[in-house]
């Protein structure tokens, strides 16, 4: 079965940003996303995820390289200064290229 190369952009950040990020993802042309509630720790300290006003989320977006680049640049510029944020890209192979 043939596969197609795409990028997986993963954003781990504060739950407060969910609405803004979902809007950004749409605006920059990604066709879908998946969100999980997560917990962990990083340079900003521990984020135990035990309080509803202070949750952490992980957003996964599979999209074309160009979209991932623009979206990542926008996210870094808009949020990295004031919010806990982890962001990485990975290569993935998809089966249905029209979906991403």
């Amino acid at each position: 079965m043939s596969t197609h190369a795409r990028k997986l952009l993963v954003v781990i950040t504060e739950g407060a940003l969910e609405r803004s990020l979902v809007k950004d993802i749409r605006v920059f042309g990604a066709l879908g996303y998946t969100i999980h509630d997560v917990r962990g720790a990083g340079r900003h300290g521990e984020r135990p995820g035990d309080w509803e006003a202070d949750r952490s989320i992980e957003i996964k977006v599979i999209c074309e390289q160009a979209v991932a680049d623009r979206l990542a640049a926008h996210i870094l510029q808009s949020y990295s200064e004031d919010y806990s944020l982890s962001l990485y890209l990975a290569d993935v192979s998809v089966f249905r290229k029209d979906k991403y």
Partner: protein, 312 residues
């Protein structure tokens, strides 16, 4: 005699400090908070149906004004004495201008225990007091850049937040349906209330204890602030309630509302509207210090204030 509600809170607090693996499932916590908000709203709504709406308007106006003014002294103190940044001072002041529904619920349980009556439409004031403090806090935090706040987005977030929707929704259902029609479901919302509140306080104990490290980092000033501001605001709330001619229980609850600090609606709104503010400071103070202070020693003190005013 120790109040079992406080003991449930203490159990959660100690369990977290001792690093127990106790954790309430998130879905249970969500369900408990939905139940509490609806129960509080419904009871108030039934009572509003008995009042003519015009009678409540002057009180609603006064309460709104109180909510809008409460953040101002806190902001001035945080700026002048605490030397906090404008963003941090505005954010923390907004938390203290807004209210805590659970502290209110503990107050209601305290009054019920002592068979002290209160104006049953008080839950309306909880919903009303939630918003102005947050808005004024944001205005103070962003007083140099109001235009940068996306007010539409933000008001949507606050007004459509779970607590406002369920409190006002419960009030509306109670008001529209009336006491008679609610009879079949009423036992669910009244007899279970204190039991549900006890489980919720267990969770609050766990969460409050996990904020201790942030409180430690923030220093002695903020701890003093988080205990003295509730006491001062409690006096303000009691005086306003007395001036409005509320009953002993009503004055107590308004003092509790004024003294309480928001740790659900306010942190969410501030994180979006004032990204420069450090949420560790405001949530640490509101949840780690003020909430335990209020439910353990505050509520009896506010009741005593109301009693003292009632005797005058």
């Amino acid at each position: 005699m120790l109040d079992p509600l406080v003991l449930f809170f203490a159990l959660g607090f100690i369990a977290r400090l001792a690093k127990s693996d106790l954790r309430l499932p998130e879905s249970l916590y969500e369900a408990l908070s939905i139940y509490l908000l609806l129960a509080i709203g419904l009871k108030g709504g039934v009572e509003i149906a008995r009042q003519s709406a015009g009678n409540l308007l002057p009180e609603v106006g006064t309460i709104l004004l109180m909510g809008a003014l409460l953040p101002l002294p806190a902001f001035a103190i945080l700026r002048a004495i605490g030397k906090f940044s404008r963003a941090d001072a505005g954010s923390i002041a907004g938390h203290y201008g807004s209210v805590s529904v659970v502290t209110f619920a503990v107050g209601v349980a305290y009054l019920n225990e002592r068979k002290v009556a209160f104006e049953a439409y008080m839950p309306l004031f909880v919903a009303i007091l939630e918003i102005p403090g947050i808005v004024v806090g944001i205005l103070l935090a962003k007083s140099d850049s109001w235009r940068s706040v996306e007010w539409g987005e933000l008001l949507r977030e606050v007004l459509l937040g779970k607590s406002i929707v369920l409190l006002l929704g419960g009030l509306a259902i109670g008001w529209l349906a009336g006491a008679e029609a609610l009879k079949p479901i009423e036992p669910f919302y009244t007899t279970l209330f204190k039991g549900v509140l006890s489980l919720f306080l267990l969770e609050m104990g766990l969460v409050a204890a996990s904020r201790i490290s942030e409180v430690r980092k923030s220093g002695l000033f903020l701890v003093l602030f988080a205990t003295l501001i509730p006491l001062t605001y409690g006096v303000v709330g009691a005086l306003v309630g007395h001036w409005l001619g509320l009953s002993l229980g009503g004055v107590t609850l308004l003092a509790i509302l004024a003294a309480s600090a928001s740790y659900i609606a306010a942190p969410t709104a501030m994180r979006i509207a004032v990204p420069k503010a450090n949420p560790g400071l405001s949530i640490g103070a509101a949840l780690g210090v003020t909430f335990p202070f209020n439910i353990i020693v505050g509520v009896p003190i506010y009741f005593w204030m109301a009693e003292t005013l009632a005797r005058r």
